[in-house]
């Protein structure tokens, strides 16, 4: 069975998956994607998973994880606000906080790193991304509510490679990436990945006095090691990141002196209000954020019965994150530490029955300390490729919230090769760390009110999907349709409606749910030309101030059309993606002195057009393209930009793009041992 898995996984990419197939880390993420030309692959595995492989990552600039979802219809990426450059994703219409982020199948980017995680994973470092919708396996814990995103980085045990990448765009952003591995002998290998980006120009396209995107300087380095023995496999990595962002009214040379600064430390923030400083009318409003993050992990697997794939694995990971933020006169500093350990045992009894079980321990030292030991068991029943049923149960105990149970179930039924039906049901939980995860909301004069005794978030997710492959002559048309329903039993409500001059973090009282429908069609229309069209409709409601209302800043629909043309031998590649994002509700506005509302209560839909041309050579390629070519942007994303120290200032009422068109050019060098 391992041999079959190895062959299947070897068929899709140049990387030998031997290291990870031993983990059988995710039966949900089995891959069988044809080598060239699958648009974005749906996996043949148990879960409803989109696989974004290296070919897909070449279709756009994909400088970082956030930009890698441009051609993916399921994940929405937006700026969280108009000031920090932090990006957020939405899956199934719900906030990215409900998506569990994993790197190498280990939970990552939690707490203060969460709002910036999309900018912390450089595109050229990634080997692939798996986006799983709905409840995922209990192996990775209880934190996924709407889904899971797993990023696999380039591995040292892969075929020897060396690559480099340089990118430059019309906003003046420069990025450089380097990556290489080395096989020391037939067991040991190592790899080094490096990334540097700098944006040192201040653009103010809408003349509101605020820079459209903050100046950024970021450096990252990752060193990995792997030992691939016959019965024992080992992987380890360390990663370091340093980043500085500066935004706001930075056209002015220096910040004012003697400002009345309010300091909110992770341990002490509670119900403090912020007052605009007096007597500093002319002082520029500056946003200054520094992040420093160090991570390490190790995976050990011992296989003691190859025939049954019986193995025992130990995963250890830890991270340190230091963040200093300054929003005008509000400051938030935090030091976060996390340690995670997971011991798993897996085996196949025979071709039909397999078991995975394990214990885990997670410790977070965030604004409060939380320690979670947990235990899980997962059983899978499989009849060839036709039928798979997986049930998992998990029990965790939190020193803050007590014990809780996470059940998850997945079903896959393929009556024939062309039809696959999937269903999933599962529960998910989340602990909130409000200031760490939402501190970008301080880029406003809103009073920040955080209730004491915030509940652990708890939700059920139900999903159904169907995939159909229709042969048309020599080609095929792939169709899929899905429906997801998420309902919250407990939720952190971010209430910006009840008081437009405050943001109130409180426990949900009432209903909160999300219905998502999505349909997709993809086909190679003629030689080298593939077209994908998707439509998604979301209905997300929550109870605000006692009334069930549409969730604000959530698009009601999304249409995506993406095309790729790679004629002849594929030396030239043309990609174009058009997104049509539906409108939605804004948080309730207030009335200005002249009787007009502070902003429109609804925002209209908007389009996003991206295109790219790539020319491939044997060991290098050159690419050029444009993002947001129609230049569509939210004209005045910053409310009261002329008076940032006043009580109306708000840079968080962002529903659309905050910059105009961006054009870019880049070169990729790639060498791989033959």
């Amino acid at each position: 069975m391992i041999a079959a898995l190895l062959t299947a996984s070897g068929a899709y990419g140049q990387v030998s998956e031997q290291g990870d197939s031993v983990w059988r880390s995710e039966q949900l993420q089995e891959v069988s994607v044809s080598a060239m030309g699958h648009r974005h692959g749906k996996t043949s595995g148990l879960g409803n998973t989109d696989f974004i492989g290296s070919n897909e990552l070449l279709r756009a600039a994909c400088c970082n994880l956030g930009e890698s979802f441009t051609t993916n219809p399921s994940v929405d990426v937006n700026y969280a606000d108009a000031a920090t450059g932090a990006q957020q994703i939405k899956l199934l219409g719900l906030s990215g906080t409900y998506v569990q982020m994993l790197t190498e199948n280990i939970p990552n980017y939690r707490g203060a790193a969460a709002p910036y995680s999309l900018g912390y994973i450089p595109g050229p470092w990634m080997q692939s991304i798996q986006v799983s919708k709905g409840a995922s396996s209990v192996k990775n814990g209880y934190e996924s509510i709407t889904g899971q995103i797993n990023v696999e980085f380039k591995k040292p045990q892969a075929t020897p490679f060396a690559d480099a990448n340089i990118y430059y765009n019309t906003k003046g952003k420069l990025e450089a990436n380097l990556g290489a591995n080395l096989h020391l002998n037939d067991r040991w290998s190592t790899a080094l990945l490096g990334h540097y980006e700098i944006l040192n120009m201040a653009h103010d396209g809408n003349d509101d006095g605020f820079v459209d995107m903050p100046k950024v300087r970021q450096g990252q380095l990752m060193n990995r090691w792997a030992y691939m023995g016959d019965n024992y496999k080992f992987q380890a990595a360390i990663k370091g990141l340093k980043e500085h962002r500066k935004g706001g009214q930075i056209a002015h040379p220096s910040p004012p002196q003697g400002r009345d600064v309010q300091i909110h430390n992770s341990a002490s923030f509670s119900n403090q209000t912020s007052h605009p400083s007096e007597g500093l009318g002319e002082a520029p409003y500056i946003i200054d954020i520094t992040n420093e993050r160090y991570e390490a992990f190790t995976k050990n697997a011992y296989i003691f019965d190859h025939e049954h794939g019986s193995n025992i694995a130990l995963i250890l990971s830890g991270s340190l994150h230091h963040q200093n933020t300054l929003y005008g006169n509000k400051q938030y500093n935090t030091d976060q530490r996390n340690g995670y350990a997971s011991l798993m045992f897996e085996t196949d009894f025979d071709e039909h029955h397999s078991l995975s079980t394990g214990i885990s321990l997670n410790h977070d030292h965030f604004d409060f300390d939380e320690t979670n030991p947990g235990v899980y068991a997962q059983y899978t029943f499989k009849v060839g490729e036709q039928f798979t049923l997986m049930g998992g149960l998990r029990w965790d105990h939190s020193n803050v919230y007590g014990g809780f149970v996470t059940p998850r179930m997945h079903l896959k039924y393929s009556p024939s090769d062309n039809v696959t039906l999937r269903g999933s049901i599962g529960k998910g939980y989340r602990t909130n760390h409000v200031m760490a995860e939402y501190n970008y909301l301080m880029a406003s004069s809103r009073q920040i009110i955080i209730d004491d005794d915030l509940d652990q978030e708890e939700a059920w997710n139900y999903g159904l999907s169907a995939a159909l492959s229709i042969p048309i002559g020599e080609r095929k048309l792939d169709l899929s349709a899905e429906y997801y329903y998420t309902t919250f039993l407990h939720q952190l409500l971010v209430d910006m409606d009840s008081n437009p001059h405050a943001v109130h973090f409180t426990n949900l009282t009432g209903d909160s749910y999300s219905h998502t429908w999505q349909a997709e069609a993809t086909s190679e229309i003629f030689d080298g030309f593939t077209l994908t069209a998707t439509y998604r409709r979301t209905n997300v409601k929550s109870t605000y101030g006692g009334a069930l209302r549409e969730k604000p800043l959530t698009n009601k629909y999304k249409g995506l059309i993406t095309a790729q043309w790679k004629p002849g031998l594929g030396k030239w590649q043309f990609d174009a993606t058009l997104q049509l994002n539906g409108g939605g509700r804004m948080p309730d506005p207030y009335t200005l002195v002249d009787g007009t509302p502070s902003w429109d209560s609804r925002y209209k839909g908007y389009e996003q057009l991206n295109t790219q041309v790539t020319r491939f050579f044997r060991h290098w390629s050159i690419y050029a393209g444009g993002e947001n070519i129609t230049g569509r942007r939210q004209k005045h994303p910053i409310i009261a930009a002329d008076d940032p120290w006043g009580s109306d200032f708000d840079a968080t009422m962002v529903w659309g793009p905050v910059h105009g068109a961006i054009y870019y050019i880049g070169v990729r060098l790639n060498w791989e041992k033959l």
């Binding site: 062959t7 070897g10 068929a11 140049q14 044809s34 080598a35 060239m36 002849g568 031998l569 594929g570 030396k571 050579f617 044997r618 033959l674």
Partner: protein, 101 residues
């Protein structure tokens, strides 16, 4: 009428001069292609050889059919291209098909 004829002859002359001499060769490889990964490796590398117009691989009879511009390259040059990616390539003669295991 004479002008049209002259134009036609000129066009024919020019097209003969610029006509590409597209030839086809069928090759087998050692090691043989046994999976999609091998096909991919061959397609992705051989396409950068000079004069290659199209590459078709067949896993069933383990052959690679290449269309090439005879003005820009030759069969020995193509075989050299395969050597670069660690494959020995042999031309399949039209009268007999190689029966490799």
């Amino acid at each position: 009428m004479v002008r049209t004829k002259a134009l036609f002859i000129a066009l024919a002359f020019v097209s003969v001069c610029f006509a590409k001499d597209i030839k086809t060769v069928v090759l087998t490889t050692t090691p043989q292609m046994h999976c999609a990964n091998c096909e991919k490796k061959i397609k992705e590398n051989i396409r950068f050889e000079k004069g290659i117009k199209s590459i078709k691989t067949n896993l069933n009879d383990k052959t690679v059919t290449i269309e090439y511009d005879a003005d820009k390259t030759t069969i020995p040059a193509i075989i050299e291209g395969f050597k670069k990616i660690k494959y020995e390539a042999k031309e399949v003669k039209t009268n007999k098909t190689k029966q490799d295991k």
